[in-house]
């Protein structure tokens, strides 16, 4: 296997061996099972122990799978749960900004709207929960792409669709934007999805620090990007997203 890192490969083999044993294994047993010298095996196990991927029985000295490994799979956050936890702060953001609010999560290379609060002007509006949005052309999408490299890679595989003349279709430009989004903690989009409208969004973090969603407002460009309103709106979005992250951590 060219291009693989030998020690990671060996560590994975060790973990598989522990799984196959159905419980605990001693270092000699493990060394034999994976065909490595005992000292090498011991070194690998010490590192796995340090990152919590294996645990050692203090009585017998035998190794079992660690809690850190199990934690990796529990990052999954139910979308309905996310909506339920975000609801108060999404309401408050809509009230404060006067804009419609959407909470998005990744759906392959796209964004699925898991929560939508109407623009608070009592005009007729349609609930868009479940709708898919293009990630590269929306503020919520850019936040997710910035926080989820795998999603960005999946998107970069295909051509970027031009939804307006302002849509970013050059992957290099998009990647540079994502870099900037990661640095400052919010994303903007102006005329890139539909002419005349824009968006501002910020990341929502799960308890493990992974970006699990993007909370954003959208509205007419002249409203969102007026010099007088723009910094305040950004601050509101960032604050509301941080409040949801805190809610998820509690």
């Amino acid at each position: 296997m060219p291009g693989t890192v030998q020690s990671i490969e060996r560590a994975a083999t060790l973990l598989h061996a522990i799984v196959e044993s159905g419980g605990q294994m001693g270092v000699t047993e493990l060394a034999a099972a994976v065909g490595l010298p005992k000292t090498t095996t011991h070194g690998l196990l010490r590192t796995l122990l340090a990152v919590g991927f294996v645990e050692q029985d203090p009585r017998t000295g035998r190794y079992a799978l660690g809690a850190g490994l199990l934690g990796l799979g529990s990052r999954y956050l139910d979308a309905n749960e996310l909506r339920s936890r975000a609801s108060n702060w999404a309401d408050s953001l809509a009230g404060r900004s006067g804009c419609a609010v959407r909470l998005g999560t990744p759906a392959g290379p796209q964004v699925v709207v898991v929560h939508h609060v109407f623009r608070p002007d009592d005009s007729p509006q349609e609930l868009e929960v479940g709708a898919l949005l293009p990630a590269h052309a929306t503020a919520v999408g850019k936040v997710l792409l910035a926080g989820r490299p795998a999603m960005a890679r999946a998107l970069a595989d295909g051509p970027l669709e031009a939804l307006t003349a302002r849509t970013v279709v050059d992957p290099a430009v998009l990647l540079a934007q994502l870099q900037a989004v990661r640095g400052r903690g919010w994303a903007e989009q102006r005329d890139e999805y539909r002419l005349g409208t824009g968006g501002i969004a910020a990341p929502v973090y799960g308890p493990g620090g992974l970006v699990v969603g993007a909370l954003g407002i959208s509205g007419p460009v002249e409203r969102l990007f007026a010099d007088t309103a723009r910094p305040a709106l950004r601050a509101m979005v960032v604050e509301a997203a941080a409040a949801v992250s805190r809610e998820l951590a509690s």
Binding site: D78, A79, N80, E81, R83, S84, R85, S87, N88, W89, D91, S92, A94, G95, R96, H115, H116, V117, F118, P120, D121, D122, Q125, L127, V129
Partner: protein, 502 residues
């Protein structure tokens, strides 16, 4: 001009929330803490009043700290509370003599059946506008006085005090044993079976009927008006209002005009329609209750359809069956199937309230076949909330003669889109959610803010109301659910019949 904020405490069945709102009615800070549910025997549900008092102090202090650096000042406190839950405590020590008897507690069932057999029992409905049912506070007080040795004599001497949760909190907030104010708001008092709903005074005949000494009762106050100063918080605040949680939600939804209605979806669900200053008596199984009263103004009444178990059924799926990890996941599970698979759940865990008032009914799952999966059960559990709403909406339409044209909703279950769409379809009307889902707290804040002049009048509050979401009925589903409604009604009849077996 600095912003003025109002702190609301929503003392609920499962938790206590302290929320700070700004003048536009937007949530600024929220802190929440759950308390323990005690189930000492089947059908008994208790809370520890001291734990609730501690949680109130803690969450209020946290919320106040959250806004300490914000450019504004908190100027009043409003309280909303779980209704009918009854506390009896010692005036001298401030200690409860028993745990609080919670509104879901059914221990007074036999007592209520005995009382209902008395020749003068008709008095109760006539004077209170309520049903003679174990759901209300009066029979619980009677139970405590009978069960705790020496309690009756001590109550008669004025050594014991009683009240619903807002009473307990106001007494403690205003000093407790050191000069605490012993009052209840008129909406809570209207749910005791002890108050004449027209005069809004404790009724001597009712006190006789239930055997409750007047000396232990709190003074009845308007819901909007300063009750005293909360001294037990980091900053002293005037307590500007108190209401039962469902009345608070009606207030928070700004249903100030006759005919305006809301339904709040939490542990249970409660449809309330403002009937103005007229007391309207239901002929279809609803109850008449006080909606609110502004100090110095006449009382406003409401018709109410009370449903005991809606969100609690979702909690049961989570805690007792372990089908889901959190309440919101019920939607994920329900969406694994396209329909209820022929399954109906009647969650009559502690009998059925409106419009049936069948205290002995018990829950059932009807239509089980080997085809039914946990997804169908989840769906049927959510649908039970919709069907029960249809039952009370139908009663309300019949009483008022004006069919509901849209339903205003709030509460924790309204973040469930599957349920909200089902509701629109099963009622055949649009379902509208306001910008503040925490409408109970908002109503308490509005009441307190009105009392101290944060808002000039109810008109100012109305301008804060905005729609955050709307679900519209799908005509095809409406027709299908109309056709299925008799199935639900049949399941309800079976659950009532099950309880009637001797």
């Amino acid at each position: 001009m600095t912003e003025r904020y109002v702190l609301a405490v929503d003392q609920g069945t499962t938790s206590t929330r302290s929320i700070v709102f700004d003048r536009a009615g937007r949530l600024v800070a929220v802190r929440q803490r759950e308390h323990r549910q005690h189930f000492p025997r089947p059908g008994w549900v208790e809370h520890d009043p001291e734990e609730i008092w501690a949680n109130t102090q803690l969450t209020a202090a946290q919320a106040l700290r959250d806004v300490a650096s914000a450019p504004g000042q908190v100027v009043a406190l409003g309280i909303a509370n779980q209704r009918e839950t009854t506390v009896v405590w010692d005036r001298a020590t401030g200690r409860p003599v028993v745990n609080a008897l919670v509104w879901q507690d059914t221990r007074t069932g036999p007592l209520v059946e005995q009382l209902a057999a008395r020749p003068d029992a008709g008095l109760v409905r006539e004077r209170t506008g309520l049903e003679l049912a174990g759901y209300f506070a009066g029979p619980r007080l009677r139970w405590v006085l009978d069960a705790v040795p020496g309690a009756r004599a001590r109550a008669e001497r004025g050594e014991l005090l009683c009240g619903t949760m807002e009473s307990w909190l106001v007494w403690n907030l205003t000093g407790g044993t050191d000069g605490g104010v012993h009052v209840t708001d008129v909406t809570n008092a209207s749910r005791t079976l002890l108050m004449d709903v027209r005069t809004c005074r404790w009724d001597p005949d009712l006190l006789d009927f239930f055997g409750v000494p007047a000396a232990m009762l709190p003074g009845i106050c308007p819901s909007v008006g300063v009750l005293g100063t909360a001294r037990a918080l980091p900053v002293p605040l005037p307590i500007g209002g108190a209401l039962g949680d469902q009345q608070a939600a009606l207030f928070g939804q700004t249903c100030f005009a006759p005919g305006e209605a809301k339904c709040t979806y939490g542990t249970g669900s409660f449809l309330l329609q403002n009937t103005g200053t007229d007391l309207v008596r239901s002929r279809h199984g609803l109850i008449s209750t006080v909606a609110y009263q502004l100090a110095g103004e006449p009382v406003h009444y409401a018709l109410e359809g009370s449903i005991a178990v809606t969100g609690a059924l979702v909690q049961w799926l989570r805690d007792s069956l372990g089908l889901i990890g959190s309440a919101a996941e019920v939607e994920t599970l329900a969406r694994t199937v396209a329909d209820n698979g022929g399954c109906y759940v009647v969650p009559a865990f502690s009998g059925l309230l409106a419009p049936h008032w069948a205290g002995r009914a018990r829950g059932l799952v009807a239509g089980l076949t080997s085809y039914v999966t946990k997804g169908h059960l989840a769906r049927a559990a959510l649908e039970a909330t919709g069907w029960q709403t249809r039952d009370v909406v139908r009663a309300m339409d019949a009483d008022s003669g004006l069919p509901l044209t849209a339903l205003r909703v709030d509460g924790g279950m309204t973040t469930n889109n599957l349920l909200m769409q089902f509701l629109a379809d099963v009622l055949g009307t649009p379902v509208v959610r306001p910008m503040v889902g925490e409408t109970v707290s908002l109503g308490a804040a509005y009441a307190a803010g009105l009392a101290v002049g944060v808002w000039s009048d109810t008109g100012a509050l109305r301008r804060n109301w905005h729609r955050s979401a709307q679900w519209s009925p799908d005509p095809r589903r409406v027709a299908a659910l109309d056709a299925a409604y008799p199935e639900w009604e049949r399941a309800v009849r079976l659950s009532i019949a099950w309880g009637e077996r001797a």
